[in-house]
């Protein structure tokens, strides 16, 4: 089958659009991963205190891992963008 040539300018615009969408996601995830706990102090005691600690740990880990994953994707898009130059 014949391969249709792709306009490099259109590709550049597509990658830049993807970066514009993904970069704020990385920034926000990194900020949320290191932000203060969403749980207000309420003298958590016993099982509630353990559950609060678990939640906080899960959230920070999940946010950090998501930030890393999206950041990896941003790097790949940037790499493709650099290849066009």
């Amino acid at each position: 089958m014949p391969v249709t040539p792709v306009d490099p300018a259109a590709l550049r615009a597509a990658y830049e659009r993807q970066l514009a969408l993904l970069l704020p996601v990385v920034d926000e995830l990194e900020r949320e991963a290191t932000a203060a706990s969403p749980l207000l102090s309420d003298d958590w005691r016993g099982p509630a205190a353990a559950a609060a600690d678990d939640l906080l740990r899960d959230l920070r880990r999940g946010l950090h891992e998501a930030a890393t994953a999206v950041d990896d994707e941003v790097r790949r898009v940037r790499h493709r963008l650099a290849e066009l130059s």
């Binding site: 792709v6 597509a14 996601v25 969403p38 309420d42 939640l55 998501a66 990896d72 994707e73």
Partner: protein, 478 residues
Amino acid sequence: MSRPSEYAGIAADVGGPLLVTPAGTTVVSTDAVLASADRLRTLERSMHEKVRRVLAADAVALGWPIRDDLVPRLERVRARCEQARDAFGRAAEEYTRAEAEILALQQQAAGFLAALLGPALLGALARIILFQPGVLLAAALSGWAAIPDGPDGRLGTVRDFMLAHPELITSPEFARFVSLVVTSIDDVALGLVGVPAWLAAIPGVDLSVGGDRGVAFGAVSTIALGSLFGMFRETPVTAARESTAPVSAAPTGSRERLDRIPEGSPVRIEKYEADGMPPRYVVYLGPTETFSPFSDHEPRDLSSNVHGVAGLDPGAYRVVERAMADAGIRPGDEVVVAGFSQGGLMADLVIASGDWNVVGKQTFGAPSGNIPMPEGLFGMAVRNTDDFIPALAGPQLDHHVLQVEREAFAGDTPPPTALPAPAHQRGGYADTADAIDGAESAALREQNRLLDRFTADYLELPGGQATQYLYRGERVPG
């Protein structure tokens, strides 16, 4: 904000957490739990928005195919937030259900005992009065003589003892006890007419008015009994305007509203005007002035309290009505009412009357839980859980307005001894009002904001101005 002098030496923050019951629900949460749930909800929305962005990036024509695991990763974080928020909700529901079950059991037990023992005790008392009055007199005199005679007499000794031991009447347990007593008076009456105690203890078998668990009946019985001795007598009243003055600024926050509730004059009305707008009013109502059960010149007395809880037409309420009319408040004008103690009771009577267009309220320590409120009001009812005065109207009847509760003296610090019932004093409510102003939950902040905006909005408009009227009421002894 400064603290009243009687609270000198008491650390500012000795109160417990704010307990919040949003309007339209009976589920009690702490402000901190509600605020935590708010933050988790915000995080959920944030994850949802990120999912939308990642999907949009993946859908860009000619774009790099986005790896498949990003959306599930974000969804897992969102789901964890939702799961925790649900757990908070379930915990609050279970706490509320457990509390309600305990209260129901206590009410049934109290009703049973009242119906079983009340008639017997009253009968014994009546027999002694009729057939052996000397024995009763001797017992009373012996008891009176047993009280040490201090510098202010034996009554002074009793007063000093109560002041020195505020812990006896300053606890959530005592407030609960008071509530159980006032909701059991009707069970005594049922027992007197022969209803078996087991039947009187069944929920719904009572002499309630509008589901108030017999609170109004108890107050009417108190009035009837007191009237035999000339107590709790209602009289005509007058209301006279004392002063008129401009208001420089609208109140901001619950503490400032509490501080505007008058102590000397019973009624303070603020009129807010702006060009082209109908006037708005805030009616501030002060607390009880005298606890004498014998009506004199002061309408803010015990008679008004008992008649108010009974749902009758207390003198203090008629003073408020006259003052509102004199201030020019028309039936359609928007009004917010704010009151402390008896003032809160009168505020709720103004709302319940349906004669005025009350759109919001803020009451502190009001014995008015048995008064049904209409739906759609903004604002809040504030009670200290270790204050027994609100318990005189029984448990909270409806939840059409946000309820805020807090134990005023929750720590190991003993309550102050300068004034009686410290959890009912302004100082106790000033601390709670400060805690409300520092609250983090959207449920509480929004109601505080609505109360603030009701007055501040007009002052920010062209021609915005406010005027204050102070009124004094008088009983006209008949």
